[in-house]
């Protein structure tokens, strides 16, 4: 990787420059919280945001998307045109970039998803460092650091950014739009100090020892019933999760029924119908089994395939769940045998 120093007041130039070539999407305020939304200038950006309501996944994998079109008259089947304008996602935190990498595993490996991939290929990612909030626990999964999956990463050193340039395109952007300077040894030392402090700032200590074993060994534990009683089966956790990728597929006909499209929408394993099959059989009928499945899949199912857990510790689900069910509470319960 290469590195440059960028003065903070250059960010306005950078965004202006980017906006001339790309749609720039970044964190903006919404009623005291934050969302990723298109911006026209740096003044709209809130790079000091804690976390966003929805993760960046919707810019690659929208909540609703056409995956195929058909005409009933001549049985013609076509792909949907992917709307993937050149776009920059500006200001992603390490957890969210790590989450994208986990999504990439699903959507760009075996049976490449053309829609996800087209957007991923057409999107530049500019990361920015963050400060932990009380619901974050990315330190637990080592997702507080990120080393690829972005084009530029900006680490905040007070009045300047320490910019890591991961890709050619990222380096070009910086060259084109801002005056940056060489990194000195002092800069790197300052970078080390800042990152070190950041690591110290986490107070969430979650004991993840032997999670897959615990999940199997405690498969029938009563803790799941307790969580089941609390769960509202609303699926909010899955929607806000940057690593939840499950979807439902339905056919939608045009009003005249002559043509139609096949649409996928975000789905959640917390919905009762998720695992229902014909003849009234449902493999996860009870709420408890569904809550369990979410964690089982995240901490063990995905791990067994991709050697990472399917959680980046962003804490969004903890904030979104009206009943305060969260990975931290669940893992604690698995470790201690009791729900707190």
């Amino acid at each position: 990787m290469f590195f440059r120093m960028v003065e903070k007041d250059q960010i306005a130039d950078l965004v202006r420059g980017l906006a001339s070539e790309y749609e720039v999407v970044g964190p903006v305020e919404k009623q005291g919280r934050f969302v990723f939304a298109p911006v026209t200038g740096a003044e709209e950006l809130r790079l000091d945001y804690d976390t966003t309501l929805l993760p960046p996944k919707r810019w690659f994998f929208p909540p609703e998307e056409t995956i195929m079109r058909f005409r009933t008259a001549d049985e013609e089947v076509t792909d949907d045109e992917v709307f993937a304008p050149p776009r920059v996602l500006f200001g992603l935190h390490p957890c969210d970039i790590n989450a994208l990498l986990l999504m990439d595993n699903v959507f760009t490996r075996d049976y490449v998803d053309p829609y996800y991939k087209a957007r991923r290929d057409n999107t530049l990612v500019v990361g920015v460092s963050c400060t932990p909030s009380d619901t974050c626990f990315c330190n637990v999964w080592d997702t507080d650091e990120v080393h690829w999956g972005f084009d530029v990463f900006l680490t905040d050193l007070g009045d300047r950014y320490y910019a890591s340039l991961r890709t050619v395109k990222g380096a070009e952007l910086l060259d084109d739009y801002v005056k940056s300077s060489e990194v000195t040894e002092e800069d790197t030392a300052e970078f080390q100090r800042v990152v070190g402090e950041f690591k110290q700032a986490f107070d969430n200590d979650v004991d993840t020892t032997q999670l897959p074993v615990l999940l199997d060994a405690k498969f029938d534990s009563p803790i799941w019933d307790e969580f089941g009683e609390q769960c509202l089966s609303c699926g909010a956790c899955s929607m806000v999760c940057p690593t939840c990728y499950c979807f439902d597929v339905t056919d939608r006909l045009a009003p005249d029924q002559k043509s139609g499209r096949r649409v996928r929408t975000w789905d959640s394993c917390q919905f009762k119908e998720f695992a229902a099959v014909a003849h009234g059989q449902n493999f996860r009928e009870g709420r408890a089994s569904r809550v369990k499945y979410r964690y089982y899949h995240k901490q063990w199912g995905y791990l067994s395939k991709f050697e990472r857990v399917l959680c980046v510790g962003c804490g969004r689900c903890a904030r979104a769940c009206p009943s305060d069910i969260s990975p931290v509470r669940v893992i604690e319960a698995l470790q201690t045998g009791g729900v707190r």
Binding site: D248, V249, K305
Partner: protein
Amino acid sequence: MSVIPQDAYRRDAETNPYRPWPARITSIIDLTETEKLFEFRIIDPEIRESFTFQSGQFVELSIFGVGEAPISISSAPSKQGFVELCVRCAGDVTGALHAKQCGDVVGIRGPFGRGFPFQEMKGHDVLLVAGGLGIAPLKSLINHIHDERHEFGKVTILYGAKNPAEVLFRYQFDMWKHRDDFDLILTVDEPDESWDGERGLVTGLFDQIEVDPDNTYGAICGPPVMYKYVIDEMRKKHMDVDKIYVSFERRMKCGIGKCGHCGVGHQYTCVDGPVFNYWEAMNLQGAI
């Protein structure tokens, strides 16, 4: 680890894996009141030529405007150019398929999933146990074994249905019954006057068969409740857990390991299964 089979999509990385190929219904046979056997011909000749599969794999069948359903292929891989599906009318897609006629066009994607380990089974005895509609994927395997019969040892088929009217592929079984290289035993839970076969559950048939535990591969497919009991019987016969294969049915939306619906334990039925060996299956929490 999942072994994604070589399939038609690989030949063209640009292909949208969610886009089905139009296929024409070339024959429909009524099997029972609720099941029909359909034969399809993929319209695009290139795709049709390259469509190869293993017994135990499935396709996603599309009725445009209704949706998709995963269905096991029940014809043998050796039957080129056509795909045969045995479908029970169980809901929207399958119901809409049942309303179709010869010559109508539907969509097919696939084949997907891991099938039975046909090559490994060669040189061994095979014990196949089917319950109800579970015979559909096993029929593909049986037909395939039939095509290469000399490669296998003893082949035993146990098949249970609820009543005589629900016994599928009776015409074929009647044919096989008279062959001495297949041991076929049929049983029904609720026999009527016409029934001259066995009665009772399929597990009851194990008393009648001899199994060479070191040399036998097992394959099971049927309703979820059946697995545990059949496996118990196989274990009583001392068969190896990793030589017993089971085929699972789960809800599926994509068939290619993305939509997440078919999760069973830590695996996905669509890409890691639907055929699992029993050792794997035992390790899947909530599977059996």
